[in-house]
């Protein structure tokens, strides 16, 4: 009987490590022209991704973008930075869009596409897997 408990405990530990491994470390990134966005508080950064903040004195137009919701990064960013489930975040944005209160965030299928867009877009900001950072991007915040 003791062996069964030991196996069960081991299985739980292995499973929890695996689940931990599935959750990705996320980085909010921008381009060098908009590096001042690093100085924003978490609260203001959240507002950007909820469509409630679109400018600062240094960046006249902030353009937020996201990875397609089917990506794990979207789910992790929603949960760990915005405090919402992916479903809640999509629902929030649907209300904003279909009531005419906001224009949808630009959405990209892959991190490569998103990174390229941020590099070339004044005020561009988005979130990617921390392991996919490149030297052309400025890290605004790391989200674990």
């Amino acid at each position: 009987m003791k062996n069964i408990y030991t196996y069960l405990l081991s299985a739980c530990i292995v499973l929890s490590f695996n689940l931990e491994a599935l959750a990705k470390s996320i980085a909010i990134v921008t381009n060098s022209e908009s590096a001042s966005l690093k100085n924003l508080s978490d609260k203001d950064l959240k507002k950007i991704f909820l469509g409630k903040l679109d400018r600062t004195p240094e960046v006249p137009k902030i353009r937020a973008a996201q990875l397609d919701p089917k990506n794990q990064e979207y789910k992790d960013f929603a949960r760990n930075f915005l405090g919402k489930s992916a479903r809640e975040l999509r629902s929030y944005w649907s209300v904003q869009i279909f009531s005419g209160k906001a224009i949808p965030l630009k959405s990209f299928e892959t991190s490569e596409q998103l990174k390229k867009w941020i590099e070339n877009t004044p005020g561009g900001i988005g979130f990617i897997d921390s392991e996919e950072l490149s030297s052309d991007l400025v890290v605004v915040r790391k989200v674990n």
Partner: protein, 411 residues
């Protein structure tokens, strides 16, 4: 219509690149059926209907410059035999400050919580919003100016939305046959909505005044109809628990001369129909028209003297399922002014199942109770005429059961 929107934008903003246009959509495929011979709001009767439930919408939006943007929505609503297509709303938006937005164009009146996305079934906890409250205003959209101003009050967000405009709209009539519209004109509509809340909780108050001319089918014109609607709401949605509750009061504030005119018209129509007695020959078109005219004008002359209405919806999430229970009530404010009334109450059990993060099924079972002498939100004319049919047992509607079902998706 898309061409119209594009032309409009190209005229005013020739530099706008339409490749930047974002498009989203929504669809609801639904049906409803009741156990009553008298048809309910949006033609719900014994024969299953899709009217007013099945919908398809296309939302287009684009930034025009750093401060200017536009959004528009096309809406196709299912009728029994065809689909009605209209521009639901189209807004040109100017944002001089991050917390101040000025909206110009055709906009939905922000009267209730869901008023600005009322046709997007996936965003609602019901198959259709409670008719008792979401049906009492005959103004859905106005053309004019509005402003959204947001202000942080500690951890709460305050949003003010004053608006002013006019209405020249045609909406599918909820009681007349398919293809017939109710025409609403308003030389002025104004009001304000005030929202206070955070990500999980929202309290709301709104006030709307409208000075309207309404052409109800079949050709019943009501002029100089002035109404005031005041609403209050509370919404809570956190974790597994959700609550939506709203209360509203609608008052006829027409001038005394307008009220007197409506009563005179109703009296004249009653006088025309009087010779037919209590049992008109419904096969005689003239008699049928005169009786219907008299009955409808009498109802309208009295109908909106004043109503109070509310609903409460509670829900609890269990994985992908959300069972809900709703109670709603529509009651007249003053008994003495009403010959017949639209009072009713209802209770609804619902079950929502999320198929995915962007689609769901909803099933509802609603029981509507209509007090004696009232027709609730049932087709009053239909009720009246049906009650004249020999052998009919329709003098009291009593309790009526309705089943509604819908598949909803956003994409």
């Amino acid at each position: 219509m898309k061409i119209g929107i594009s032309v409009l934008c190209l005229v005013f903003f020739p530099s706008m690149a339409f490749s930047k246009m974002e498009s989203r959509g929504f669809v609801t495929l639904g049906t409803a059926s009741s156990n009553s011979d008298v048809s309910y709001h949006n033609h719900i009767g014994k024969l299953p209907t899709v009217t007013g439930i099945t919908k398809f919408g296309l939302n287009l939006s684009s930034d025009i410059s750093d401060r200017w943007s536009f959004s528009g929505q096309l809406l196709s609503t299912g009728q029994q035999d065809y689909y009605d297509l209209r521009t639901d709303w189209i807004i040109l938006r100017y944002q001089p400050l991050t917390n101040l937005r000025i909206n110009i164009g055709k906009q939905l009146v922000p009267l209730w919580f869901a008023a600005e996305y009322i046709d997007v079934g996936f965003l609602l906890p019901w198959v259709v919003p409670p008719e008792e409250i979401y049906n009492i205003a005959n103004i859905k959209a106005f053309s004019g100016l509005s402003m959204n101003y947001t202000y942080e009050l500690g951890s709460l967000n305050l949003e003010l939305q004053p608006f002013y405009g006019a209405v020249n709209d045609e909406l599918p009539a909820v009681y007349a046959p398919d293809g017939v519209s109710t025409k609403v004109e308003a030389e002025r509509v104004y009001g304000v909505s005030i929202d206070l809340g955070n990500e999980f909780m929202e309290a709301r108050m709104a006030y709307v005044y409208g000075h309207t001319n309404v052409d109800y089918p079949p050709g019943i014109l009501i002029e100089d109809f002035e109404t005031e609607i005041t609403t209050f709401g509370l919404k809570y949605d956190r974790g597994d628990f959700l609550l939506w509750a709203e209360y509203g009061v609608i008052k006829d504030v027409s001038s005394q001369s307008s009220v007197d005119k409506r009563k005179e018209e109703a009296l004249a129509a009653i006088t025309r129909a009087a010779p037919y007695g209590e049992n008109p020959d419904l096969n005689d078109v003239q008699q049928l028209n005169d009786v219907t005219d008299a009955f409808t004008k009498t109802i309208i002359a009295n109908r909106v003297t004043g109503y109070s209405t509310y609903y409460l919806t509670l829900g609890y999430r269990i994985d992908d399922f959300v069972p809900t229970i709703s109670f709603a009530n529509l009651a007249k404010i003053k008994d003495e002014d009403l010959i017949t009334g639209g009072e009713q109450s209802s209770s609804t059990l619902g079950l929502r199942y999320f198929v995915s993060a962007t689609s769901d099924f909803k099933l509802e079972y609603q029981t509507i109770s209509v007090p004696k002498g009232s027709y609730g939100l049932f087709d009053a004319t239909n009720y009246y005429i049906a009650s004249l049919t020999p052998g009919a047992e329709l003098e009291e509607l009593g309790d009526v059961n309705i089943v509604k079902f819908a598949f909803n998706a956003v994409f």
